[in-house]
């Protein structure tokens, strides 16, 4: 009887063994070993020859790495708010009962599934190259467009735009949240004379703050780890103006074989992400509304 009960209580562990093995081998082990390697001079073809703190010192003293960190912050601070606003705005519009709404929802979601494909690289270059689509359009209005891809002042904008354009996944989550807002609240507000904007800011936004919070945290994490955009379109150029820290980690590990340094940079990125996540979680008590028993 006891054996049966033991089995019943623990059979779940048996079922999660495949996941557990995957987690241990592909997540926890690399996670722990990268911490170890970050304190070594590990080179792919030479192995570990000594233990050192130099990697961490170098991260905060090497201009190239500091620049990559700065560009990563710029990229994240530009793209996260813009992407959230774009996703919420489109989701709000697509929540109305309009003709062909499913077609529009699909159309807006498609860029998200294209990800960092070669097709996107070709498309983006065709639009933003010196004699590309955008500059051709600008020329019609007599405007001499800049060198979007080759001028360090504009290249980051091109990469940011790609990320903002791919707002589909955040939009779908917002759309689900918007559907959960009780319609009687809007009816009551309409009776009280509130316009659409007032309803949006006084009813919609407060009620979906948990979803805004969720999207904010996930978007921060994704933006700081962004790799595909700069890798496929600019390869970090021109003059490192689009070299995000994740691209630098990749180059360090797989082009220059400096695994120790790459691991240290990955850990610095992890710590930065943890700090921002903690800030977001701490801040939620001031602006996120949970409609549970305690209200907030």
């Amino acid at each position: 009887m006891g054996k049966k009960k033991f089995l019943k209580n623990n059979i779940g562990f048996l079922f999660i063994i495949p996941w557990l093995i995957g987690f241990l081998v592909f997540k926890l082990y690399p996670f722990a070993s990268s911490l170890y390697y970050s304190f070594t001079d590990y080179q792919l073809f030479n192995g570990v020859t000594r233990y050192t703190m130099e990697n961490y010192v170098d991260i905060f003293t090497t201009p190239k790495i500091l620049r990559a960190l700065k560009v990563t912050f710029q990229y994240s601070f530009i793209t996260v708010p813009l992407k959230l606003v774009a996703a919420l705005f489109i989701a709000y519009i697509l929540n109305f009962k309009i003709k062909g709404v499913n077609l529009f929802r699909t159309a807006y979601y498609i860029p998200s599934i294209l990800g960092g494909s070669v097709a996107i690289a070709v498309l983006w270059k065709a639009i933003f190259k010196d004699d590309g689509l955008l500059n051709t359009l600008l020329a019609i209005f007599g405007i001499d467009g800049p060198s979007w891809l080759s001028d360090p002042s504009y290249a980051l904008f091109v990469i940011c735009l790609l990320r903002v354009w791919q707002f589909g996944s955040a939009m779908v989550i917002f759309l689900a949240a918007l559907k959960g807002v009780p319609t009687e609240l809007y009816e009551a507000a309409t009776i009280d004379g509130a316009g659409k904007w007032r309803q949006f800011f006084s009813i919609t936004v407060p009620l979906i703050t948990p979803i805004i919070f969720y999207n904010l945290v996930t978007q921060i994490c994704q933006a700081f780890q962004e790799f595909n955009g700069p890798y496929i379109i600019t390869q970090g150029g021109p003059r490192n103006s689009t070299t995000l820290i994740s691209l630098l980690i990749y180059n360090s590990a797989f082009k220059n074989y400096e695994m120790g340094m790459a691991s240290a940079m990955a850990w610095v990125l992890f710590i930065i992400l943890m700090v921002f996540t903690v800030i977001a979680f701490v801040s939620q008590k001031y602006w996120v509304y949970y409609s549970d028993e305690e209200g907030r």
Partner: protein, 469 residues
């Protein structure tokens, strides 16, 4: 109700179990070695196995044709290249499999972009394919101690090394071991789009002065967008070395030491910058703004707006094929007025190596010999990897008129001219990759981020750091 649920659950479990067995029990036929797996069949018994009748019809057919001189096995084979190289190599592999039944070759191939990143990881973890097309400097980068690649002298009874000069084999000998067999030699040379020069009313450049004068002629006759030559960052680096060697008559690196002073390198950098200033070559910003992945895919090269390149002789056909119809592509000559010495270098363009971890070195060597030396293989491979260094392959290709005439002409000019050696470290990843020192220096100079002294200092520091590793 509970019973019904149990029955349904058990049935589903049974179906899944059967499904799992069905999936895992047998690999698809094309992934199966034709005969015994290598690990279980050492050379001697493998031959015996090959003669043992089998229930499998294809195995039986193969066994009757295997004369027992080799072991039935599966080899993995990797290379990078363009479509025509892929097609030729796959055809050659197929011919090899037909000639040696029982040996199956699994091919992995792709474009160069990103190729080295994945291969480096495989070499570091001993998971690389059995036979690999490698870049010459990989011998130093991945196998300086001989740990990644097999010493091919061990299989010289199968792989005919007598077809290669000692000098060529010497270039692939590292740590006292012949770690690869060189396929061809290559060097950089000028190529011109004669049609654009004709349009500008001038001949293609034969001297440095001609080239410098062409810049202004192009601007005045054809417009600001037209340039006599397009030079990317790495092209500029190689051209600078060619220039300095022509002027000073000493190799770039010798005995693990850079042979040029900061002042001399500044002179070289000034030469490169002077080409940009004189409208001979577009700025790096202009080339980047074209949005092309590489020069052969740049519409301005295709339509003749950029009328020249400084490229590997083995790349000639790629650039020629990219040109739009009606453009005439010609091989240039080295500039005799560059200096009093014959600058420039040639190097092994690429090589084939067998991984140290290969379980079937003899069969892998048979594959290499077929591709590099045997008439059947070299007829198919022709000059897809440059003009063959193998005497047998060259004789066969010449007899059958299989060599690309442009590649052959360029290769002949390169080998007749260049006199300087190249150090392995010149192509080290930290120097020549797109985030490496060469790109930083040449782009920094072009963008105006560095002055000559600063650029020379960064270049010297980067090179010395690599040489001291």
């Amino acid at each position: 109700m509970k019973k019904v649920r149990k029955i349904v659950a058990l049935s589903v479990a049974a179906v899944m179990a059967v499904g799992t067995t069905a999936c895992g029990g047998q690999a698809p036929a094309e992934q199966q070695p034709v005969n015994q797996p290598a690990e279980q069949a050492p050379a001697e018994t493998g031959a015996a196995d090959a003669q043992t009748p089998s229930a499998e019809p294809d195995t039986a057919a193969a066994s009757t044709e295997n004369d027992g001189s080799y072991e039935a096995c599966t080899l993995s084979f990797s290379w990078w290249g363009g479509e025509s190289r892929h097609t030729a190599t796959l055809d050659a592999v197929k011919a090899f499999e037909e000639k040696y039944p029982g040996i199956k070759v699994e091919s992995t191939y792709g474009a160069w972009s990103g190729w080295e990143d994945s291969m480096a990881t495989m070499f570091a973890t001993s998971t690389a394919p059995d036979v690999n097309q490698i870049n010459w400097n990989w011998l130093d980068s991945y196998s300086a101690d001989g740990s990644a690649f097999l010493d091919l002298n061990q299989v010289s009874d199968v792989l005919d090394l007598s077809q290669y000069s000692q000098e060529a084999l010497g270039q692939c000998t590292v740590a006292g071991e012949l770690q690869a067999v060189p396929v061809s030699m290559t060097g950089r040379i000028f190529y011109w789009n004669k049609s654009t020069f004709d349009k500008a009313g001038i001949d293609v450049p034969k001297t440095l002065e001609d080239l410098k004068a062409a810049g202004e002629t192009f601007r005045s006759q054809l417009g600001d967008d037209y340039y006599p030559i397009a030079l990317g960052e790495y092209d500029r680096m190689i051209l600078m070395v060619y220039y300095l060697e022509s002027v000073y008559g000493k190799p770039w690196v010798a005995d693990d030491a850079l042979q040029y002073t900061a002042e001399e390198i500044q002179e070289g950098l000034a030469f490169i910058q002077s080409l940009e200033d004189a409208h001979v070559t577009p700025s790096i910003q202009t080339i980047t703004g074209d949005g092309a992945e590489s020069l052969d895919k740049n519409p301005k090269w295709m339509n003749g707006t950029y009328a020249g390149i400084f490229e590997w002789d083995s790349s000639a056909s790629k650039f020629e094929a990219a040109l739009e119809e009606g453009q005439e592509f010609v091989v240039g000559t080295y500039f005799t007025d560059m200096g009093s010495h014959q600058g420039g270098y040639s190097k092994v363009s690429l090589a084939f190596a067998i991984s140290e971890s290969c379980a079937h070195p003899k069969e892998a060597a048979m594959l290499l010999n077929f591709l590099l030396n045997e008439d059947e293989g070299t007829t198919i491979m022709a000059s897809e990897r440059g003009i063959p260094l193998s005497a047998a392959a060259l004789a066969n290709c010449e007899a059958k008129d299989l060599l690309n005439a442009t590649v052959a002409e360029a290769n002949g000019k390169v080998l007749d001219w260049v006199t300087f050696p190249l150090d392995f470290k010149f192509e080290a990843a930290t120097l020549k990759n797109s985030d490496g020192v060469y790109y930083d220096v040449m782009a920094g100079l072009s963008y105006g981020d560095y002055d000559m002294a600063e650029a020379a200092s960064i270049l010297i520091d980067g090179i010395e750091e690599e040489l001291n590793k």
